[in-house]
Assembly symmetry: C2
């Protein structure tokens, strides 16, 4: 980690001036929290990236209008029961009502409130439940670390654990800023944003265009490099709010402080992305593919994503089976042109590293050793294409019985 950066406790409430809350609004599930709030005492500039799916959930449409506009943001209201996608006009009215309810509580305008949803597609949300939930969230909000953690738990669907992180970054003017984030992922996770909701807060003072530039640059190397099942969801949202409470000289050019801020945001984003990949539905292992020696960055990304996205490669990882032909096969159908006779492949994990393929053919490796390396809960398949100088890393997870179990009866 860079000398100007350190990891600190907490998540979205770690930066100054942000509070959070969770409540059980009974949107769909019973006996668990299912709504979360992130709230800033001061107006924030916002930036974000959203799903590329043509079918965009109502809250995605709502948020895109706000984040791509010029106005301030004060709050984000999330529910994890119903995705509010494929819900037509009534779905958009729910976004309006949610934002109205929250903004009325703090005395602001409805277009300062972002709304996010995840869960089942096609069902309508009960307006009464969501507005009641807003009241409860606003009342309970707190800037404690625990409040941030409770929010991170409330946004989970089939996630097995909450995902949050925070860092502190020293800027060149001696001021320190903080960046905190939380995500939920699990199913419908695929490059170009996922069934993932991610929210980052920072107390840095930074101009909107530089905030947007940082998040756009980072998403291509982090969230857009993970896949669970190849299904790009209707609801993917990754948003950052900056309230300027750290009092630093505002970041407004590509100087040292922008680079430090970006490094901090990169650390937070990469951590959250990898956490999501490794906690994919039914996953027993984080499955990483590093490609080097590609002709272009785009080639490297495409190749790495093809491997971690392949059902057959994922099933091989689940079975700890060194069926290297499947990795070669997934490289081969990625759409990237290369010389198959040049490809080298290694496996690496906490149990060691082993050469598997040399010049497109099996290296005559020891099967027991390969199986041992593939049996760890984080496994890396490292490919050298010998075609050029570009590299990229993608993250996914194995394909298990539980993925099928979870998704065959998700709604019940």
């Amino acid at each position: 980690m860079k000398e100007y950066m350190k990891k600190i406790d907490g998540g979205v409430t770690a930066p100054k001036g942000f509070s959070a809350a969770a409540c059980a609004a009974g949107i769909k599930y019973q006996g668990r929290t299912d709504m979360a709030l992130i709230y800033s005492d001061k107006p924030c500039v916002s930036a974000g990236t959203f799903t590329t799916n043509v079918v965009k959930a109502a809250p995605v449409q709502w948020d895109m209008k706000i984040v791509h506009g010029d106005g301030p943001v004060r709050a984000v209201v999330v529910n994890s029961g119903i995705a509010n996608a494929a819900t037509g006009k009534p779905g958009m009215e729910i976004c309006e009502k949610t934002a109205e309810a929250m903004s009325a509580l703090y005395g602001g305008k409805r277009d300062e409130v972002l709304v996010a949803s995840t869960g089942v597609i096609g069902m309508q949300i009960d307006a009464g439940k969501i507005t009641a939930g807003c009241g409860s969230l606003y009342e309970q909000r707190s800037d404690s670390i625990e409040a941030g953690t409770q929010a991170a738990q409330a946004i989970m669907t089939t996630d097995t654990h909450k995902k949050e992180i925070a860092v502190e970054v020293s800027l060149s003017d001696g001021k320190t800023i903080r960046i905190g984030g939380m995500t939920k992922g699990s199913g419908m996770i695929h490059p170009n944003m996922c069934t993932m909701l991610g929210f980052v807060t920072t107390d840095a003072a930074i101009a909107k265009q530089w905030l947007q530039r940082a998040i756009s640059e980072i998403v291509d190397h982090t969230f857009n490099m993970i896949t669970v099942d190849g299904d790009t969801s209707t609801n993917d949202t990754y948003v950052i709010l900056a309230n300027g409470e750290a009092g630093n000289t505002p970041i407004n050019d590509i100087g040292e402080d922008y680079l430090r801020f970006r490094e901090g945001l990169f650390f937070v984003s990469e951590y959250l992305a990898k956490e999501m990949a490794g906690d994919g539905e039914g996953a027993t292992a984080l499955f990483e593919c590093c490609v080097k020696g590609a002709r272009s960055l785009n080639d490297a990304r495409t190749l790495a994503k093809s491997v971690v996205g392949s059902s057959l490669c994922k099933a091989a990882i689940y079975g700890h089976d060194s069926n290297f032909g499947r990795f070669l096969c997934a490289l081969g159908y990625s759409g990237v042109s290369f010389d198959p006779d040049k490809v080298d492949i290694d496996y690496e994990s906490a149990a060691g590293k082993i050469a598997i393929v040399r010049g497109g053919m099996g290296s005559g490796y020891d099967e027991a050793e390969a199986t041992k390396i593939l049996s760890e809960n984080a496994v890396s398949v490292q490919v050298d294409m010998h075609m050029g100088g570009e590299s990229a890393t993608a993250w996914g997870c194995d394909l298990s019985y539980d993925y099928v179990r979870i998704n065959a009866d998700y709604r019940s």
Copy 2:
């Protein structure tokens, strides 16, 4: 079925002048047949389509050279133990030895013999076993229906049943021709050819260019519209041999007889493609998606394939779960642009038909009725995009626990 066509018994030995055989050569599996021969008494013209994977198995490279050349073909030798992919020069030498062994038996040249392999990638084939197998196959060859069936069984890997079919077509000169085919599929099945091997024989007299045109036109509507797991294999091969033994006026233009021949080949190809999709690894149901009202044929194909290729849609079919948002989601991330508020979706099966989505939203349908329709072993999801006049159908299968079980320990 057209009045000039009828289904007949058998497979690749149904057309005149073709014989077949199977034997247990012990290439990899024990206690089962694992090699097959198709043999023609007379020289054949050939045509075919092959995998688009950059990593092409040695037999694919061998066959492409022959099929894209001008010479005659007399035989196809298949093994179902080892794919002979990622095997470098030794792998190509196995193809040469196989073709030499077979051509020596009937007294011909090695470049008249096609070779096909399916099974594990990255292992080398034992040359002694394969040449011994050639001897046994040639000796046992027979033009009986049973011999064709035995060949169809010998090429299976994780297929649960053999796949063969034959038709008879009356041409305008009063002659009848026959077309017979067999395939194996199961895993690594995805558009742009699959881990599928398909072989078709015909006694029609037809010029090479028209044979190639027919198979190319048909593959786009049949084999390239099926998917099991999105993994385009290194070995996909679909080849047709025509020996002219029916004595018809040779087909050499786009007249009535070409159209009748193509109709026959389409029937055979569509049957075999659907059989492969429905018998995908672990499948409990054939999962069809018909898209109409698309702006272009390419859009229609892309949309239909996106739905049958989605892990989440496949898991919903396995669970008989009317989670229609997943179908909308898969349409949305296909890359095709459309208006989500116009989409209609119906389900249809032997149990009935039901309207599920109207104008991009749930129709308020009866859940029990939808579940009943999705519980059949062949289920159709019918989409009207209301964007234009083009349509396409794609076929796949559901995603079950057994897919994971089969693929987590395929090599053991």
